[in-house]
């Protein structure tokens, strides 16, 4: 197996505050990996480093064998709170982003795969939260990426949309893509991912299959998570992820 992304002893500080504190992670081709952690754990910072939107203070980051950002044409990303222009339709936006990639799926195929066909001519401001998330997924998928980085992708989605979302993600994995997603949702991580990486305080606290994490179902995942992260509340001091 070949490493699709590697982070070695990665540190990232913002104004003297450590968002990452020696994070190590390696993901191989074809994996579907959940990065699980409380608010402020460092999940979003990790994704920003992987996308080349931020640079590590210290440590080594490689994506698809290259420096972050160098292989953007092979990476599809869904950023937390990603911004979109207001008066652009779903079809225009997916088609536009697709054109930025050297190879892309036909826009209508992507819209069908993300259940957006009947919303194709809606402008962004007319979309519901779940439709907006599906649009972001469509934009991440359209370039036929080898690596999908999804930061809390199912936030604001209802149950049916979540289920459909993960079906699409699994399809991508079946087609050879690697998927790494960040989530707060323990059950989602357990149900979807073949591997769960628990992050807290900017470090990896556990890296195992969901089955291993719960000792083959003998332990409750929530208890395991709380023990690993020492999380006692649902939010960090600032309530924000870093």
């Amino acid at each position: 197996m070949v490493a699709v992304l590697e982070l070695e002893d990665v540190h990232k500080e913002y104004a003297g505050v450590a968002a990452l504190d020696g994070l190590d992670l390696r993901v191989e081709e074809g994996e579907l990996v959940a990065v699980l952690g409380p608010n402020g754990a460092g999940k979003t910072t990790t994704f920003e480093l992987l996308l080349g939107l931020a640079r590590p203070t210290r440590g080594r980051v490689r994506v698809l064998g290259d420096r972050p950002g160098a292989q953007r044409a092979r990476v599809g990303a869904m950023l937390q709170g990603a911004g979109l222009p207001d008066q652009v339709t779903v079809r225009e936006l997916v088609g536009l982003v697709g054109r930025a990639y050297p190879r892309a799926y036909p826009t209508d195929d992507v819209l069908a795969r993300t259940a957006l066909t009947r919303h194709a001519d809606k402008v962004v401001t007319a979309l519901s939260g779940g439709e907006r998330q599906r649009l972001l997924l469509a934009m991440a998928l359209v370039g036929a990426p080898d690596l999908l980085l999804l930061d809390e992708p199912t936030a604001a989605m209802d149950v049916a949309s979540r289920r459909a979302f993960w079906e699409r993600a699994r399809e991508s994995v079946a087609e050879g893509a690697t998927v790494v997603f960040a989530t707060h949702d323990l059950l989602e991580a357990q149900a979807v991912a073949a591997r769960v990486v628990v992050v807290a305080d900017g470090r990896v606290r556990a890296d195992a299959t969901p089955d291993e994490l719960t000792h083959h179902g003998r332990d409750d995942l929530e208890d395991v998570f709380l023990t690993l992260t020492r999380e006692r509340t649902s939010a960090g001091p600032d309530g924000e992820d870093r």
Binding site: L53, A100, A177
Partner: protein, 301 residues
């Protein structure tokens, strides 16, 4: 609890391959089935302009504010005196056409760039694009070209009204020169809008653009002759690139005596006006690029 097979870890997983030549740089090179080549940068740029144009005309405020206002202003202030002659024989309708088109072009440059780019920056669209292979340069070039097409529309529609209702007559070469100059103007002044977009906080960009635009428009003589404004306006005007842009535009279609009579400002050599316009575009462009670069570096730590 966490005492068994789960790897409580501070180290990377143990499935790493040795660094074999040709393997580390080539992971996941397979192409997904069904994906098709998309074409080059020019195709992306063309698509960007088309999407930008459609998007701008879905926004009624923009369509009215940027494109319709110069035409309406011409109808209100240009047509009533259109037939009045200036000392050199130029009709006031032609001078007003130049003034109000220049006003529209500078407004477009400031608000299309200053406000819209700042909004895109503030709402995170530029960050979203940076996570894709979409080049920021294509986004900015596309926005500039869209602005140029809007400027073309402003010049054509105001010109059409002036010709049909104001009796303004120019030969084909003069019309072409006037329209081309106004279209180029929006590209030159887009550097100012671009600078506002990256220097001001996104929410403050509209205020900054407005604070700059009105004094620029008045002090450049777009609304009334400088001789009818407070002296300070006339003193400041020679230091404003928009004033020099206006002077060049008037001189494209009017004799110098009428330019001086209409604007209330003494004419200067064309080279001086050109130096101000081009120099300010280069300077503001450099400032804008530095600001954009500073932001990217700050974000990336």
């Amino acid at each position: 609890m966490m005492t068994s097979t789960a790897r409580t870890t501070g180290a990377s997983r143990g499935r790493q391959l040795p660094d074999e030549p040709g393997t580390r740089g080539e992971p996941g090179t397979s192409h997904r089935p069904g994906a098709r080549p998309t074409g080059g940068v020019l195709g992306l740029l063309a698509r960007t302009v088309v999407v930008d144009l459609r998007s701008s005309f879905r926004n009624a405020e923009f369509a009215v504010g940027a494109v319709a206002v110069p035409v309406l202003l011409y109808a209100m202030f240009g047509l009533p005196n259109a037939a009045s002659p200036l000392p050199g024989g130029t009709r006031v309708g032609l001078a007003m056409l130049v003034s109000l088109t220049a006003y529209g072009v500078v407004s477009l440059a400031l608000f299309t760039f200053g406000e819209n780019v700042a909004k895109d920056r503030g709402r995170g669209w530029l960050r979203t694009l940076r996570a894709t292979p979409f080049p920021t340069g294509v986004y900015l070039t596309g926005t500039s070209l869209t602005a140029a097409l809007h400027a073309l529309l402003i010049a054509l529609s105001t010109g059409l009204l002036a010709a049909l209702a104001g009796g303004v007559r120019l030969d084909v070469a003069e019309w072409a020169g006037f329209v081309a100059f106004m279209t180029a103007g929006v590209l030159l002044f887009s550097t100012l809008g671009f600078a506002i977009a990256f220097l001001a906080r996104p929410r403050a960009a509209t205020v900054v653009a407005n604070l700059l635009f009105l004094p620029l428009a008045f002090a450049s003589g777009f609304f009334m002759p400088l001789s009818e404004l407070p002296d300070v306006m006339g003193d400041v005007a020679p230091y404003l690139p928009t004033f020099h842009f206006g002077q060049l535009a008037y001189r494209l279609v009017m004799p110098d005596t009428d330019v001086a009579a209409f604007t209330g400002a003494a004419t200067q050599p064309v080279a001086v006006h050109l130096a101000w316009v081009l120099g300010s575009a280069v300077l503001l462009g450099a400032v804008a690029l530095l600001a954009a670069r500073r932001e990217a570096v700050t974000r990336r730590g």
